[in-house]
């Protein structure tokens, strides 16, 4: 049997590289060995994908869903049920970084396609991903590149590409913004089919050579008749690019960092970790999979347990995964999608092109209350199959003392390590309700209820807010 410490590390890896896994599945993972599991996560192509055809037959209305929250529910379904957790987590990472919002795009199917693109290209080469991004119809519409014309540039895409998607403020000039915008003139979408009366249609990337600015451009010190691909090539070879990407990966997978808007003046919390990721980028020429391999196998990652505040999607999906409340084809994903929004992370509709503010910015009194109510509500429901399995897991130890029952519940929910103050209150609570015993039907019912309340309290704790 693997040691508890190994299980805890596996639990950490699966929370970060995926959306968490029930306790008993971690035993199996830990037997495989840490590095082997990392390798498996890095190669989603070796695991079965969600069967779209089956999914859309079983969940009518999801295919090409025309309106929120069904399009969001489509994604939540995949987060909960995927056998390729890191692929899905990376899609969320890119959605956070290349934030595109339905508030303006107003075409849910097109956004769903953008997320599918992140699944396909999200662990490949960074340059290829940026080129795909520039061709993403949702992105083109979101940042107005269809309105960026030869002789009448619209700088929106050019600016955000440099400021928010690749280099960060302070690493380019206003002229670079203009010239990047000029290089992307003609990167447009084919005329849209009117929505009425039949609903929304997919859009299509269209390059319009007659609208492309063929004059010479100077961009980040390079001069030439650049097109969009050339701009991406120059960007990915700037020293600022790997640093910017590394800080985003660190913030998303490792530990909370200062707000992105301050990165120009605030150094990273762990500069050595960023250097390590930058080296991985440089050595692999921007291969995202290689950077992730270094990240997950590093000591700084292994030592970062509970160093991040969970995003709402992480909290919600992680909770239903261990509670087993939403497995496979069943109703209820709409509510999970809505819940993400209510906690401050409406998927496919981020508040702005900057994405969500993360870390403690997820937490205010209203959001914390929703998080607590959601997790406590789901994990305190002893009729959920995963909760029943947790109860049986605790029960397998036989009659136990209040101290043992707290230890067992923390183990089955993670294993989780909690602060002294949380532990003290859990013990106080358990001592009041007494031993767990199983020697009569009445005792069994009582013990199950006691476990349900302990799980409710753990889910409501401060500690549970951390990934």
């Amino acid at each position: 049997m693997p040691e508890r410490q190994e299980i805890a590390l596996m639990s950490h890896l699966m929370r970060r590289a995926g959306f968490g896994e029930p306790r008993w599945e971690l035993d199996v993972r830990a037997e495989q060995g840490y590095e082997a599991v990392v390798e498996e996560l890095l190669h989603p192509e070796n695991q079965p994908a969600i069967n779209d055809e089956l999914m859309y037959r079983m969940l009518p209305g999801y295919e090409g869903a025309q309106a929120p929250p069904i399009n969001q529910a489509d994604w939540v379904f995949r987060m909960v049920n995927t056998k390729r957790p890191l692929e899905e987590k990376m899609a969320l990472f890119w959605h956070q970084l290349f934030a595109t919002s339905n508030a303006k795009v107003d075409n849910p199917p097109e956004l769903t396609r953008q997320i599918a693109m992140f699944r396909e290209f999200g662990m490949g080469n960074y340059r290829d991903l940026l080129v795909e991004l520039a061709k993403s119809p949702a992105m083109i519409f979101w940042l107005d590149n269809h309105g960026n014309h030869d002789g009448a540039t619209n700088e929106n895409w050019g600016r955000e590409l440099l400021e928010l998607f690749s280099l960060g403020e302070g690493n380019y000039t206003e002229d670079d913004v203009q010239n990047a915008a000029r290089a992307f003139t003609g990167w447009s979408i084919a005329p849209k089919i009117p929505r009425n009366p039949l609903g929304r249609f997919y859009w299509r990337f269209e390059y319009k050579p007659e609208d492309h600015d063929e004059e010479e451009k100077t961009f980040l010190g390079h001069t030439g008749n650049f097109n969009g691909e050339d701009i991406m090539e120059i960007i990915v070879n700037q020293p600022a690019s790997p640093r910017f990407l590394a800080r985003h990966l660190y913030r998303f997978f490792v530990a909370d960092e200062p707000a992105v808007s301050s990165w120009n003046t605030t150094p990273p919390n762990d500069p050595e970790a960023i250097d390590l990721l930058v080296n991985a980028y440089n050595e692999s020429e921007g291969d995202i999979r290689s950077i992730l391999r270094v990240l997950f196998n590093s000591n700084f990652f292994k030592n970062s347990q509970y160093a991040r505040v969970k995003s709402p999607a992480e909290l919600i999906v992680g909770t239903v995964k261990i509670a087993g409340s939403h497995q496979g084809f069943r109703p209820g994903y709409n509510n999970l999608a809505l819940e993400c929004g209510w906690q401050g992370q409406e998927l496919l509709n981020p508040p702005s092109v900057e994405g969500w503010h993360t870390g403690t910015a997820w937490i205010d009194a209203g959001a914390l209350m929703r998080r607590v109510n959601f997790a406590a509500g789901v994990l305190g429901d002893t009729s959920q199959p995963g909760v029943r399995a947790m109860i049986n897991w605790v029960r397998s130890a036989g009659a136990i003392t209040p101290q043992q029952s707290i230890a067992a519940c923390l183990d089955v929910m993670g294993p989780l390590t909690v602060s002294d103050s949380t532990l003290r209150e859990l013990l106080t609570h358990a001592l009041k309700s007494g031993d767990l015993v199983w020697d009569s039907d009445e005792a069994v019912a009582g013990s199950e209820k006691k476990i349900g309340k302990i799980l409710t309290l753990i889910a409501a704790s401060r500690d549970y807010q951390f990934a």
Binding site: G147, V260, S262, W342, D364, M369, N373, K453, S461
Partner: protein
């Protein structure tokens, strides 16, 4: 404190995404406006003149009506030097009053701290919307952020609890788990304080929808709903002095005409309903609403929309406002523009300071970070 005079209340309405100043307060008799806005303009037959130089757009009659009654101050040319064209940086600056460095603490949070130095009322400042704006965030300053006024309370969704007694026991445990403890680190401390604030705030704020009744029908859009929530909490008399909410997106790079009009029609109608509601309850005279946006938009249009600019307009609305125009509309002459944008001529911190000092009666210097020229619109 016993006093018959009601405490002043400030409602902040943030126009997120950079509102187009030129098409909000339209210099309709200035030929440079027409030269620079061949496509994205308010056509002559759709202007609603304020005087012989400036106009609103005709769809915002209710907004104009507030101005005509002398209850609206329009503050021109608001912004700051070296205005970044980035939404996020600019909004951070507006939220923290730190144009030079990266600010941490929000200016509204400092206002709340000074209104309630001991943090006795977690409802002193209330945000309506998804997530807390940076302006209201500061360690140690409790604020309440409400997404949905109708369902607000810890453990309200735990269906497995058999009785209200069981819920009370769990709430006691929750309070002890979130109690301050030494050496847990800043994030745990922040979570602890926020959890306890949530507990307290929920107990009180649930009174608001219970007490509310009104004949006013608000429109069915986001800003109308937010201002209705503000009205409910204000009318419940819970001691809230600062409300924050936002509307948008104003980032009209493309196809501006329809979307910009829609946003302003919604705001115009929502403000009209809001003040009618307060007046119905004789509760309007201690309320001032202020509107701002992170920056204005470029003078020259881009064909169908406008890009990021610099100077903008701010508005202050209320019974006790000295209505009229304040400051100067920045020059549209090419030589006066900065990188093609209207040059700010009034520091936003002076605008804040006027409200903080003259309306809320607080020392503005520590809140806005220095001494700035004030105006007397309140």
């Amino acid at each position: 404190m016993t006093s018959t005079k009601k405490d002043p209340v400030l409602v902040i309405l943030q126009l997120t995404g950079a509102n187009d100043y030129l098409n909000t307060i339209v210099p309709y008799t200035n030929s440079l406006y027409w030269d620079n806005r061949p496509k994205v303009n308010i056509p002559q037959d759709l202007v609603l003149p304020i005087d012989d130089e400036l106009a609103f757009r005709s769809e915002v009659e209710q907004f104009k009506d507030i101005y005509d009654k002398g209850n609206m101050a329009i503050i021109h040319g608001v912004g700051f030097q070296n205005s970044p064209r980035s939404h996020f940086r600019a909004m951070d600056i507006w939220h923290t009053c730190e144009p030079e460095s990266i600010g941490i603490d929000g200016w509204v949070a400092k206002v709340i701290r000074d209104l309630d130095p001991n943090g006795e009322n977690v409802l002193k400042g209330v945000n309506f919307g998804q997530g807390l704006p940076r302006a209201m965030a500061m360690r140690g300053v409790p604020v309440t952020s409400v997404n949905n006024l109708a369902t607000y309370g810890v453990f309200s969704s735990v269906r497995s609890l058999a009785s209200e007694d069981e819920r009370t026991q769990l709430l006691d445990s929750f309070a002890r788990m979130y109690a301050p403890a030494i050496g847990t680190g800043p994030t745990m401390e922040y979570l602890g304080q926020t959890g306890l604030d949530a507990l307290k705030g929920a107990d009180v704020i649930k009174l608001a929808p219970e007490r509310y009744s009104s004949t006013i029908e608000y429109a069915n859009n986001a800003i109308a709903k937010s201002l209705k929530d503000v009205a409910q909490v204000h009318l419940a008399d819970l001691g809230t002095q600062v409300f924050y909410t936002s509307h948008g997106p104003f980032d009209t790079h493309f196809d501006q005409s329809g979307s910009h009009a829609k946003l302003w029609i919604e705001i115009s109608g929502a403000l009209d309903s809001f003040f009618a509601d307060l007046k119905e309850h004789n509760a309007s005279e201690n309320v001032v609403v202020m509107l701002f946006s992170e920056f204005g938009r470029r003078v020259k249009d881009n064909g169908t929309g406008t890009d990021h600019g610099a100077a903008g307009a701010a508005f202050v609305i209320g019974d006790r406002v000295n209505g009229g125009m304040y400051g100067e509309y920045p020059s549209l002459k090419t030589e006066d523009l900065t990188q093609g944008d209207l040059a700010p001529n009034y520091d936003f911190r002076g605008f804040y300071a006027s409200l903080v000092d003259k309306w809320l009666g607080l020392d503005p210097i520590p809140i806005v970070g220095g001494k700035f020229e004030q105006m007397s619109f309140v």
